[in-house]
């Protein structure tokens, strides 16, 4: 692969649509476009960030292929930093394929996955964190994840990391000065405050890490488990939340045996919702296996929706489940309030939500509760880290700072700080390690 050639790719999904966008980037962009785009203006008069109307022709026979808008982004004012033209054609695969073929026939190459963003990164238009954010913006599964991605794309996380980096550099330069200029009274008299500096950097990293867990969850999705004894209406609630008849509902107890999973966006959050087999005492055979699965899912889940049947008194199985989920974040739900209430108001249920999964009563209230349980009173501005890579890097860096706190001497403090600086550098891509880059770019889809 060469990084100098001109690349082309369709930026919109395959298939028929009202508009299809072909993007071209590289040194040859203008000379290629010149051969196929006929407009009232001459190509040399096209200004950057301007759109022009005209015809796309086949240069072999002057056949008009489509009437289109071409938008010009000239270097360095483009996404990739190179000359970029976007051809907005009519979204017919026949048109798009034909234009793409003509361009590749003249020497352009079909872009690889993520190649436009890779060029933006290599040309210094964005840093590594922003490149990741571009991907996250494209694939964000829910509104909260999109918000995080955009914040990161805008450079908020990069700013924070650079700020941290410059603090380390400051501290390091103090330490180094102290070592290399032992007879300079200016330096020797200055209070270098290493201890305080290290402490404050560690606190800052902790702050970032605190938000990180939530960041990853927002992006990857929360595991929410619906559980309860048989026939409390778990599948009815599941279907209500996913919005269609996903699970089979029947009054026969134990209709749901193997758990069912679906991914939904609820009120801006991305959830992996699980409907599980009910728990009953006498379970045996496959039912027993199903129940064991439910129990192991309980362990992994971020939130449990524990359901009770409002039309029946509480029994042993209810209490068993209540105890099983004792240490987990959960919401207690009393279902079937459309029927006669025969469930006694026990202490357990004092902050439960009373719904009817069947009629949909109070489902909105439940959703609000789910959201506030999952996204606790947290300042959203503090959630910046969204990837395990970020978390690992900062945890590593923190480890070096802790070692620096215990270090023997200024020279070993400096050693740890340099190590931390390298790790932080990898985060923004300032220190490039080829393998990190390769891994990141594998994740990228075509276009942005």
């Amino acid at each position: 692969m060469s990084l100098n050639d001109t690349i082309v790719a369709c930026a919109t999904p395959a298939g028929y649509s009202s508009i299809g966008v072909i993007r071209i980037s590289g040194d040859q962009t203008l000379s290629l476009v010149k051969k196929i785009f006929v407009s009232r203006q001459k190509i040399q008069d096209f200004e950057t960030n301007h759109a022009y109307y005209g015809n796309i022709i086949d240069p072999d026979n002057n056949d008009v292929i489509d009437k289109i808008i071409a938008t010009f982004y000239l270097t360095p004012h483009s996404y990739t930093g190179e000359d970029v033209v976007e051809l907005s054609c009519h979204g017919n695969p026949l048109i798009i394929d034909r234009i793409t073929k003509i361009l590749t026939g003249m020497g352009a190459r079909i872009a690889q996955r993520g190649e436009f963003t890779k060029r933006a990164l290599l040309n210094g238009k964005i840093d590594l964190l922003q490149a990741e954010a571009v991907l996250d913006t494209v694939i964000a599964p829910c509104n909260e994840a999109r918000k995080l991605a955009i914040t990161q794309y805008e450079g908020k996380l990069s700013d924070k990391i650079y700020e941290l980096r410059s603090k380390i550099v400051d501290l390091l330069s103090f330490v180094e000065a102290n070592i290399d200029f032992p007879e300079e009274e200016d330096i020797q008299n200055s209070d270098i405050g290493i201890e305080g500096g290290l402490k404050s950097i560690i606190e800052e990293i902790d702050e970032l890490l605190k938000g990180a867990e939530i960041g990853v969850k927002i992006k990857e999705g929360y595991k929410v488990l619906i559980t309860g004894r048989t026939n409390v209406g778990k599948s009815t609630l599941f279907n209500k939340l996913v919005g269609y008849d996903r699970a089979i509902i029947h009054e026969e107890p134990g209709t749901t045996r193997d758990y069912i999973e679906d991914r939904i966006e609820v009120s801006g959050l991305y959830l992996c919702l699980f409907d599980t087999a009910g728990i009953f005492n006498t379970a045996a055979g496959p039912d027993k296996i199903a129940q064991d699965r439910t129990i192991s899912l309980v362990e992994q889940s971020d939130l449990i929706l524990l359901m009770f049947d409002g039309s029946e008194p509480m029994n042993e199985e209810d209490l068993y489940l209540y105890n099983l989920t004792k240490d987990k974040d959960k919401i207690l739900i009393v279902n079937k309030i459309d029927l006669n209430i025969r469930l006694n108001e026990s202490e357990i249920l004092c902050d439960s939500i009373k719904i009817s999964a069947k009629t949909g009563k109070n489902i909105d209230l439940l959703i609000q509760n789910i959201k506030s349980k999952l996204l606790p009173k947290f300042d959203h501005k503090q959630i910046l880290l969204t990837r395990q890579r970020h978390i690992d890097a900062l945890k590593n860096a923190k480890e070096y700072f802790i070692r620096a706190q215990k270090a023997y001497s200024p020279e070993t403090i400096a050693f740890e700080l340099h190590a931390a600086l390298d790790v932080i550098g990898e985060l923004t891509g300032k220190v490039m390690r080829k393998e990190i880059l390769d891994r990141i770019f594998e994740e990228f889809c075509i276009g942005k």
Partner: protein, 621 residues
Amino acid sequence: MQTSKYDIIVIGGGHAGIEAALAPARMGYSVLLLTLNIDNIGQMSCNPSIGGLAKGHLVKEVDVLGGEIGLLADKTAIQYRMLNRSKGPAVWSPRTQNDRLQYRVAAQEILENTKNIKIKQEEASEVIIDDHRAIGVKTSIGNEYRAHAIVLTTGTFLNGLMHIGLDSFAGGRLAEARSFSLSESLKKCGLNLGRLKTGTSPRIAKNSVDLSNLQVHKGEEKHFTFSFRTNQITNEQLPCYITRTNKNTHEIIQKSLDRSPLYTGKIIGVGPRYCPSIETKIVRFADRDSHLVFIEPEGRDSGEFYLNGLATSLPYDVQLDMLRSIEGLGKVEITRPGYAVEYDFVYPVQLYPSLETKAVKNLFCAGQINGTSGYEEAAAQGIMAGINAVLKLRDEKPFVLKRYEAYIGVLIDDLITKNTLEPYRMFTSLAEHRLILRIDNVADRLMHYGVKYGLIREDEWQRFEQDRKEIDNAIENLKKIIVKSEIANPILKEKSENEIPEERGGQSLFQILKRPGIQYQDIERMSDMKFEENIGTRVEIETKYNGYIKREDEMIEKLKEIEKIRIPANFSYVDIKGLSNEAKSKLSEVKPENLDQASRIQGISPSDILLLLLHIKKDGR
């Protein structure tokens, strides 16, 4: 016209020239040393001191390679200080005050008594070139000398211009001629020359100073040696004295800036930021009302003092006024004024790592001509250039030290990958692998090279190996011997270290010595182990730094992987379209040998490196 042939000609008899002449001569090659003044061979042009931060490391490194600077410093030391004792063993920095005259005499003596060296007081005026290859030197009196390799160690003498106030005059040092036509000859060879500036302080008459109220700055009682070949010395030490500038001094300087060559634009060369003149300090740090001045003896029998911290190129009358405003110097007499000197240097990116110029084969440069400052930096390049000149004429692979092997490696790599914009001085912070570039392990790191090139004698090597074995054995024993808690705990308690819990029974001596507060002497108290001082110190350092050394080793292993990605010598950067023009020209100029070196070139970004990697791989297929 006199014509004769040598293996190697060295031009210049300073600290680089001495090593560049001695190494080849000791390797058995004939050497001609050309100097403008035989009496000034080994002259310390500036402060009468050797070593200090990172420079002490360089001296020790040159020493175990078989160089002379350590021995000369040991022979002529008049005060000893180990700087940075509290900051960790990797940055312990030995420094001596030295007798300026004795140093020179000792240097001349060794050169004159070394077989294979001829010394001639003639001005080299031209490098004779044949087909881009240096083949000899013409001198100003019309003689011509032929050689297989030539080493330039011209210091500040290339087109030197001295400044005292607004007066300027040609010269390389006070009252010494400069070398003008050589500069022109180098330009003709295709070398690109730049201009740097440095300066020195006034010297004063010892008997005109009132020392009675000044703070005495004594050396450490304990002597050390730079050279492993020097037997323990016990010469009497001379003290230095400390005084300070004051508001009055600063006013005098402030008022005279219109007669300062630095501040009137007369000096165009760039001076060192780490060693500013007093006028620069006062302009740049106007809020300070006092600066330290060290009054240092010029030598045991000398009638002069050196004023460290007062480098200046102000007019003579201002120098005198300013000095007389300082406590203790009220009636001072200047013996030699401070001055600034501007000189030509060869932009060092024009050199290969062997210090041979890329433009002219068999022509080597070492020392201040490469934009460095300092005797130690000069000596380090001198020995490397000397050895490499020999290897060149033997047609062998050059001797290049890595950044993780030696400060010398850091120094030369920095020079050839970054065009120095100010006189380059060695600092420990320039060494990424500082924790393993220590003075205690200098022989481990480098002595085998000295042996390889025939500069270290067999018996010297045996001595080293014996020490090494002793240290390794001691560390093995430390790991094996478990000391009972009831024996260790009282000593641990005394040293404010955590005691070993009774139920654990004991701990290995190795683990105990790893603790910050425990020294090898404490180990002796807990066990039957006994150490000689030099062995004990090294055992202690290697034990305490065990974890760090392992981490450094891991980093170096990773680095070696990147070093393995070699860039072909004829690689064409111009054809890589994604590279910026700056990157293209820098890379074409430096011609890095591998990807690691390329990554350190100034102005080369990580993305340039990635581009390079992609192209190297493509070409390699």
